[in-house]
C-alpha cells in the first residue's frame, strides 16, 4: 500500500476516508499520513469543511405549510 507516493495515495482515498468507507487498515494508514503531512492535512480539512458547507447551503427547514399539505394527502379512513 505504501509502495507509491503517500500523498498521491492519500488524495486518491481521501473522499472514501471522509465517507468512512475504507478498510480499518486503510483508515489507519490515512490517519497516519494526515498526522504527518501538513500538505494533505490542509486539503483534508478543506474537503471536510467543504462537505459541511455544501450541506448547510442546501439545508433549509421544510415550510410548516408543506408539512400540513403532506398530512392532507393521507388517505381517507
Amino acid at each position: 500500500m505504501t509502495a507509491h507516493d503517500p500523498c498521491e495515495w492519500c488524495e486518491e482515498v481521501l473522499q472514501d476516508y471522509l465517507d468512512r468507507e475504507l478498510t480499518d487498515a486503510e483508515m489507519k494508514e490515512a490517519e497516519r499520513h494526515l498526522a504527518e503531512c501538513p500538505y494533505c492535512e490542509k486539503r483534508y480539512k478543506f474537503e471536510k469543511s467543504l462537505r459541511r458547507y455544501v450541506y448547510q447551503a442546501v439545508t433549509e427547514p421544510m415550510a410548516p405549510e408543506l408539512k400540513q399539505k403532506l398530512s392532507e394527502l393521507r388517505l381517507e379512513l
Binding site: 488524495e11 486518491e12 481521501l14 473522499q15 472514501d16 465517507d19 468507507e21 490542509k42 486539503r43 480539512k45 478543506f46 474537503e47 469543511s49 467543504l50 462537505r51 458547507y53 455544501v54 450541506y55 448547510q56 447551503a57 442546501v58 439545508t59 433549509e60 427547514p61 421544510m62 415550510a63 408543506l66 408539512k67 399539505k69 403532506l70 398530512s71 394527502l73 393521507r74 388517505l75 379512513l77
Partner: protein, 193 residues
C-alpha cells in the same frame, strides 16, 4: 353480527391501524426526505412539488412497504424515481466533459488565485448562496448520488438500494459527481472575485 362479518371488521380495523402507523412514520421522516428533495431541486417550489408527488404516491402504495425495513430508504426511492422521470424529460446530453485530474484542485486553485492558505479562509472565497446553482449544474445521475450521500447522509449501500444501481456505480458516480460539483464551485468562485 355474523362471525364472518366480525372477522371482516377486525381485519379492516387492523388494516386501518397499520396504515395510520405507516402514514405517521412517513410524515415523521418528512424533514429528512425534504433535505434530499431540496438538494435535488433547483428551487424550493420544485422541491415542494416533488415532496407532494412522492408522498401522494407513498400513501397510495403503502401496502408495498414491508414493515420493519428501512422506510426512509423506501420513501427516497419513490422520490428519486419521480425526480428521474422528471429529469429525463428535460435532460441534457450526458455529461462528457473532461474533469480536473486532481481531487485537490479546488483548494489548489483558490489558494493559487487568492493567496489564501488557511483552509477556512479558502472556503470563505466560495459563495454559499451559489451552491444550489452549482449543484443544479451537475447532471442528475451524478447529482442523485452526491445528494443522497452528502446531503441525505446515506451509506453507499443504501444509495445503491435507493437508486437500484450497483454499489460500484454509486462509488464511481459519487467520485465524478463531487469532482463536477467542485469544478462548478471553482467557476463560480472565480466569477465572483
Amino acid at each position: 353480527m355474523s362471525e364472518t362479518s366480525s372477522d371482516e371488521a377486525r381485519r379492516l380495523a387492523s388494516d386501518a391501524r397499520e396504515r395510520v402507523r405507516f402514514e405517521e412514520e412517513a410524515l415523521d421522516l418528512a424533514d429528512q426526505v425534504y433535505r434530499v428533495a431540496r438538494g435535488l431541486s433547483r428551487s424550493k417550489e420544485e422541491a415542494e412539488d416533488l415532496m407532494q408527488e412522492a408522498y401522494a404516491r407513498a400513501f397510495r402504495s403503502w401496502r408495498s412497504f414491508t414493515p420493519g425495513t428501512n422506510l426512509r430508504a423506501w420513501l427516497l426511492r419513490i422520490l428519486t424515481n419521480l425526480n428521474i422521470d422528471r429529469g429525463r424529460r428535460a435532460q441534457r446530453a450526458p455529461d462528457q466533459q473532461p474533469l480536473e485530474e486532481s481531487d485537490y484542485f479546488l483548494y489548489n486553485r483558490i489558494e493559487a488565485t487568492t493567496g489564501e492558505t488557511e483552509e477556512e479562509r479558502v472556503l470563505e472565497r466560495l459563495s454559499q448562496d451559489r451552491v444550489p446553482e452549482a449543484l443544479a449544474a451537475v447532471p442528475h445521475d451524478f447529482r442523485d448520488v452526491v445528494v443522497l450521500v452528502d446531503i441525505g447522509e446515506f451509506s453507499y449501500a443504501d444509495a445503491a438500494q435507493i437508486l437500484d444501481i450497483p454499489i460500484g456505480t454509486v462509488m464511481s458516480r459519487l467520485h465524478r459527481g463531487r469532482r463536477i460539483l467542485k469544478k462548478e464551485l471553482a467557476e463560480l468562485a472565480v466569477d465572483s472575485r
